[in-house]
């Protein structure tokens, strides 16, 4: 060890590989290898029917065909609808709040308190939050009780028997849980914008609205794209909230059934073929979106 001198730098670099071993081995065993077996089973007819096991029998792309021609498109649509319903208000509110937090002239004294409160729902257990909403919005629950006492002649509304009220509730929960996170990301992006641009705009007599549309928004574009895609990836994974709310059946009439809920159903019933094919489809979509995220963030680096 005493031989360590300048010029022997190369010999240290093997430590780069050594320090990577835990990550690489864990990832290979618990993510990469399962990915291959997942892909493998997607080409087989392999499921349980009662106590007997059917298959495994190689059937090519039949599982994919079955998924794409039966329920999956419907569940994909449910997922995207609920994501959009939550994302649109989220991006508007987050842009508004982010621009207020990032505006030094506004000097919001209570800003740290506001940030703490709006970020709080993001850390709450989604399943518990959903359970809470199930209790609060049930027919005899507090929300109906409050509405009945405020609005004269209001009849208790059964939120869980109507497609759009269930979807709206799921979207609303996602909104509440995620807008704080988005606000902080957008705020950080806005704070990163060169202050001299704002000063110049002010000298030129630009109004706050003009500044927002002409300076903030265009310069924020990379972060907005990042937020949009990562939120979409998160949205495609939507599971805990609708699963707990509807007890896994996507009520009413499976209109709140998401793709991961469908995957979960096949995983529970041990239908390896369909679960595999569904996983591969989701992997391709999220993988493509992840590449896009990488491209967006990478370009910002240059």
């Amino acid at each position: 060890m005493s031989k360590v001198k300048r010029g022997k730098v190369v010999s240290y670099n093997k430590w780069g590989y050594i320090f990577l071993i835990p990550f690489v081995v864990t990832y290979a065993v618990f993510q990469l290898y399962p990915l291959f077996t997942t892909i493998y089973w997607s080409f087989f007819k392999y499921y349980r029917s009662g106590l007997s096991v059917i298959g495994p029998e190689f059937i090519g792309l039949a599982n994919y065909k079955e998924l794409l021609t039966t329920d999956l498109p419907k569940y994909a649509l449910n997922t995207v609808i609920m994501w959009i319903l939550g994302f649109i208000p989220q991006i508007f509110v987050s842009l508004l709040l982010g621009s207020w937090f990032a505006d030094p002239r506004l000097r919001l004294k209570a800003a740290p308190v506001y940030k703490t409160i709006i970020y709080l729902p993001n850390l709450i257990m989604a399943s518990a939050f959903s359970m809470l909403f199930f209790a609060l919005f049930s027919l005899g629950g507090p929300v109906n009780a409050i509405l009945t006492s405020i609005i004269p002649g209001f009849q208790p509304y059964s939120f869980f028997d109507h497609t759009w009220s269930v979807r709206a509730l799921v979207a609303f929960m996602n909104f509440i849980m995620w807008f704080g996170n988005t606000t902080i990301l957008l705020m950080a992006g806005m704070l990163g914008i060169d202050a001299s641009l704002y000063e110049a705009a002010e000298v030129d007599g630009a109004t706050p609205t003009q500044v927002f549309w002409r300076i903030t928004l265009p310069l924020l574009r990379p972060i907005l794209v990042y937020v949009l895609i990562t939120s979409l990836i998160g949205g495609l994974q939507m599971f805990d909230v609708p699963q707990i709310l509807s007890n896994g059946d996507g009520f009413p009439m499976r209109t709140s059934m998401t793709m991961i809920m469908y995957l979960n159903k096949h995983l529970f019933s041990k239908n390896y073929g369909l679960a595999g094919a569904l996983s591969v489809i989701l992997f391709i979509i999220t993988g493509a979106l992840s590449l896009l995220v990488y491209k967006v963030t990478d370009r910002k680096d240059d």
Partner: protein, 293 residues
């Protein structure tokens, strides 16, 4: 003095523009309303946890009842193994937080401190897999765990935390900003081995980042429902989210609603406490890990 002067200047400007006051009031009002919208649900949860089942069925009041302790006692005496659930959740989340922060720092250190052929390949690879959800490999993962007979143990929920791309990325970002290579070089000259340097020089410097990421990992695993629900079928090993799901799938009307609210409170209370104590670091840490710059 210069600062005061600048503030005076700004105040003068405000008088000229005038509108800033109005905008501040509007912003505060809107923010207060939005915060109220966030807190309302927890407020109702708190009120309802303090009320008896019959009072809950009769309707809602904003006055707390006297059943808080009784509801918790009946929850603890009930059929749900809540203490076990709490303990299991604590064990899993704590282990994940430790493994993820330690090994992610190690991975980040490998990329940060050394120059080797595959460095950029590995880094790019981790960046790309960062946003791919784990659910898409769940089938192969569950299949393997059943074969290994690891179901109903905590291992499949803890060990994979060693490879946590998001935590890695945060650590890498932080290392880039606080750890000059000269320090590592100096340690070498002093005769410190590479492992020693990492454990006793680099890790202490990473403390702020480790604290932030430990919290995030802890919370993420505390709230995790998908994988535990598929792997933990015995009551003894179930975590809190799995117990919540059990509560949901039980015949709802038979339940003592006070107990239901108590269970929800019991599950989210620890995280709320941790958050309120450490919120400064958490909110500050959010932006750093997600977007560059």
């Amino acid at each position: 003095m210069a600062k005061e002067g600048a503030m005076q200047l700004q105040m003068d400007k405000e008088k000229v523009t005038g509108g800033i006051r109005v905008r501040r009031v509007v912003a505060n009002v809107v923010l207060i309303l939005i915060c109220a919208l966030c807190l309302f649900w927890f407020f109702v949860l708190f009120i309802n946890t303090t009320r008896s089942n019959s009072a809950l069925k009769a309707g809602f009041t904003i006055v707390p009842g006297g059943y808080l302790i009784k509801n918790f006692i009946s929850l603890f005496k009930g059929t749900l193994p809540v203490w076990n659930g709490l303990l299991n959740s604590v064990i899993i989340s704590t282990s994940c937080a430790i493994l993820a922060t330690y090994f992610s720092s190690m991975t980040a250190y490998a990329i940060h401190a050394y120059d080797f052929k595959l460095k950029n390949v590995v880094f790019t690879f981790i960046m790309i897999i960062m946003t791919i959800p784990t659910q898409v490999v769940a089938l192969g993962f569950i299949d393997m765990m059943l074969k290994w007979k690891w179901n109903n143990t905590f291992l499949p929920l803890i060990i994979p935390a060693i490879a946590a791309p998001v935590t890695f990325f945060y650590m890498k970002q932080y290392m880039d900003s606080v750890l000059p290579l000269a320090i590592i070089e100096a340690a070498r000259i002093d005769g410190s081995g590479e492992f020693r340097t990492f454990n006793f020089i680099v890790m202490p410097m990473m403390k702020p980042a480790i604290a932030v990421q430990a919290i995030f990992c802890f919370v993420a695993n505390w709230n995790n429902y998908f994988t535990p629900a598929l792997l933990l079928s015995k009551d003894k090993v179930k975590t809190l989210p799995v117990l919540i799901a059990m509560l949901r799938s039980a015949d709802f009307l038979k339940f003592d609603m006070g107990q239901v609210y108590a269970m929800i409170t019991f599950s989210i209370f620890p995280v709320i406490i941790v958050y309120l104590v450490l919120s400064k670091f958490i909110v500050g840490g959010v932006a750093l890990g997600s977007v560059k710059g």
